[in-house]
């Protein structure tokens, strides 16, 4: 227990150091607006990837509707700040809760499905959410909700990201988290051991969905608008790719995947016509040669380097 605390504290200290360094560089202008945008995007993507990893990697429920929950968060928070004029913090909380609630409502019936069927059902639901938003005139319909103030700062994004990472890490090591892992390994066996599989699947799904909502709120309050076209299934695929690239079931893998893919996109933004081609070829080659992702389901740790690749999965 003590060792775990110590580890947590050292990670916290490291993140404070990283935060101070990045924030300092943003203040002094060493990091220009382009890279500042990308750093914020990386943080948002990390929140999304880590929360999807909770559903796909830890619980083994293959969901590809994450963009839908992100959209719910983006829009509810925007309604709170723009239409109702309430504070941003409240918007973040309500975005999280409403996306989580929707995740609960959707998860309850759909999580009876498994494998490919669940994947395609969540994909469909994500699209339904988007199409419904598209048809609500109150939030701008097809032209999107504009005039959202830029309230998301680097500090917000960074500390919310750290919070989400810690929450999910601790969740994984808690009793419900272990139940989720058991469901991933073998659902029938978990069921016979007395685990209420539906309960824990829905729990993981709800948590994942609510963090996606948070990410959506951060997203819309950085880019000034919430537009239905930002939340198509392409974005869900993007998040899924980050998770799978890093390795399903590996938290550090998801983080690395999010950082790597956002950087690749940023570097390739000068060659828009080649960007998606290189992106997709990378994806295919990676899957051909390393289908378990970069880290498999192992966590990246100092031990991994210290033992000279022994812990390398």
């Amino acid at each position: 227990m003590n060792r775990v605390r110590k580890f947590d504290l050292s990670v916290l200290a490291a993140s404070i150091a990283i935060f101070a360094a990045l924030q300092g560089m943003i203040f002094t202008g060493i990091i220009g607006p382009f890279w500042e945008l990308n750093i914020i995007l990386i943080c948002i993507n990390i929140i999304l990837a880590v929360s999807l990893n909770l559903i796909n990697g830890y619980t083994g429920q293959f969901s590809i509707g994450h963009a839908g929950f992100m959209a719910v968060g983006a829009y509810t928070s925007a309604v709170i700040t723009v239409k109702l004029g309430l504070p941003y913090e409240l918007g973040l909380v309500v975005a999280t809760i409403s996306a989580g609630f929707l995740g609960f409502l959707i998860g309850l019936p759909t999580l009876r499905l498994n494998g490919d069927y669940l994947a395609i059902a969540t994909l469909g639901l994500g699209e339904i959410i988007r199409i419904c938003i598209l048809n609500i005139d109150y939030v701008g319909g097809a032209s999107g909700l504009m005039g959202i103030p830029r309230l998301t700062t680097f500090a917000y994004v960074f500390w919310i990201m750290i919070g989400v990472i810690f929450f999910i890490k601790n969740f994984k090591n808690s009793a419900p988290g272990r139940c989720c892992l058991a469901i991933r390994e073998n659902e029938i066996a978990a069921d016979t051991m007395g685990i209420n599989t539906t309960k824990y699947k829905v729990l993981a799904f709800t948590l994942g969905a609510s963090f996606a909502g948070t990410a959506g709120a951060l997203f819309s309050h950085y880019f000034f608008l919430a537009h239905p076209a930002s939340f198509t299934f392409m974005r869900s695929f993007d998040i899924l790719t980050m998770v799978v690239l890093g390795g399903l079931g590996s938290m550090t893998g998801s983080i690395t995947g999010a950082i790597l893919l956002t950087f690749i996109s940023a570097f390739l933004s000068d060659f828009p016509e080649w960007r998606m081609i290189i992106y997709s070829v990378t994806m295919i080659i990676l899957m051909l040669y390393r289908p378990q992702g970069l880290f498999g389901n192992k966590e990246l740790s100092l031990k991994m380097f210290g033992l000279g690749g022994k812990g390398n999965g």
């Binding site: 059902a121 339904i128 199409i131 029938i188 998606m276 997709s280 899957m287 289908p291």
Partner: protein, 296 residues
């Protein structure tokens, strides 16, 4: 009341012609899923490539409708075989999710290479028929709709013949029933899978050409939505079941036409996915599927 009924039948005609295109794409999905249990996300893009083959065959080579559709089917079949060889075959024993990601990757690759090759602008598909409008009493059908219906019917009958009455079709059914047992019986599984991809891709390409004829416009991203919807159609009919895919396609087309005719065309896509969710919840094996109890 009379006009409402008339509109209903009119939408039925529109829906059936749209649905038969979904059915053509869904057939490929269902066959590929039946044989290697893969949701081939790239299938919708094969349909797009088929449409482009048809477009170039008519504009550059000056071919008529029938030679163009045959050329496009042949071209797409080759593309399908290459995709299976390069991307899916090395992953035969990989985890399912990895294959699914590969399929998504292939889909992006096809879409964006086409954007690079033929520009993202939509192209106008040449009118291969003189558009004639037929009146059946108060109802209207145009020649494109009839051509779609007739071509789809011919292709479906041909496919049923291949699958049910030829030796190759028997091999396909055997592999989809039990791949290991089929291998033990001396069936070359790799060849059967290639053939399935070829057949499925050819049907999708035919669907692409027909859509080009119907809507007169094609673009590199045209395959995304129809691809997903065709998958919905395949699930609706019972995935892996060939008559199910035909039925599912037609039902989906009709429902979509009804929704856009009586409600609003923006809800069209939502209706398709709504059907998907309902069918998955209440009859996950599909309309024609049998429930299989999970064994430990």
């Amino acid at each position: 009341m009379d006009t409402l009924l008339q509109q209903f039948f009119q939408q039925l005609i529109n829906g059936i012609s749209l649905g038969s295109i979904y059915a053509l794409i869904a057939l490929g999905y269902t066959m590929i899923y039946g044989i290697i249990k893969l949701i081939n996300f790239a299938h919708g893009d094969i349909y797009m490539i088929g449409a482009y083959f048809g477009f170039f065959a008519t504009t550059q080579l000056g071919l008529g409708f029938i030679p163009a559709i045959i050329l496009s089917m042949a071209g797409a079949a080759i593309v399908g075989i290459i995709i299976e060889r390069v991307a899916y075959r090395p992953m035969r024993n990989a985890p399912r999710i990895a294959i699914l990601i590969t399929a998504i990757g292939v889909s992006f690759f096809l879409e964006y290479s086409m954007i690079l090759l033929v520009s993202p602008q939509p192209r106008t598909f040449p009118a291969v028929f003189t558009p004639t409008v037929y009146h059946f009493g108060p109802l209207v059908a145009n020649s494109q709709q009839l051509v779609i219906l007739i071509s789809a019917l011919i292709l479906m009958v041909a496919l049923s013949y291949i699958v049910n009455s030829t030796k190759a079709g028997k091999a396909m059914r055997a592999v989809s029933f039990d791949a290991d047992a089929a291998r033990l019986m001396g069936i070359n599984i790799d060849r059967v899978i290639s053939m399935t991809f070829a057949l499925g891709s050819a049907l999708a390409a035919a669907g692409g050409v027909l859509v080009g004829v119907y809507y007169n416009s094609i673009d590199p991203l045209m395959g995304m939505m129809p691809g997903l919807k065709a998958f919905v159609a395949a699930v609706l009919g019972g995935i892996g079941i060939i008559p199910g895919a035909m039925m599912g396609g037609i039902i989906l087309g009709v429902v979509e036409a009804m929704v856009s005719g009586f409600l609003s065309s923006t809800f069209r896509d939502a209706a398709a996915f709504g059907i998907l969710i309902l069918i998955l919840l209440y009859k996950p094996a599909g309309l024609l599927g049998k429930n299989v109890r999970e064994k430990v």
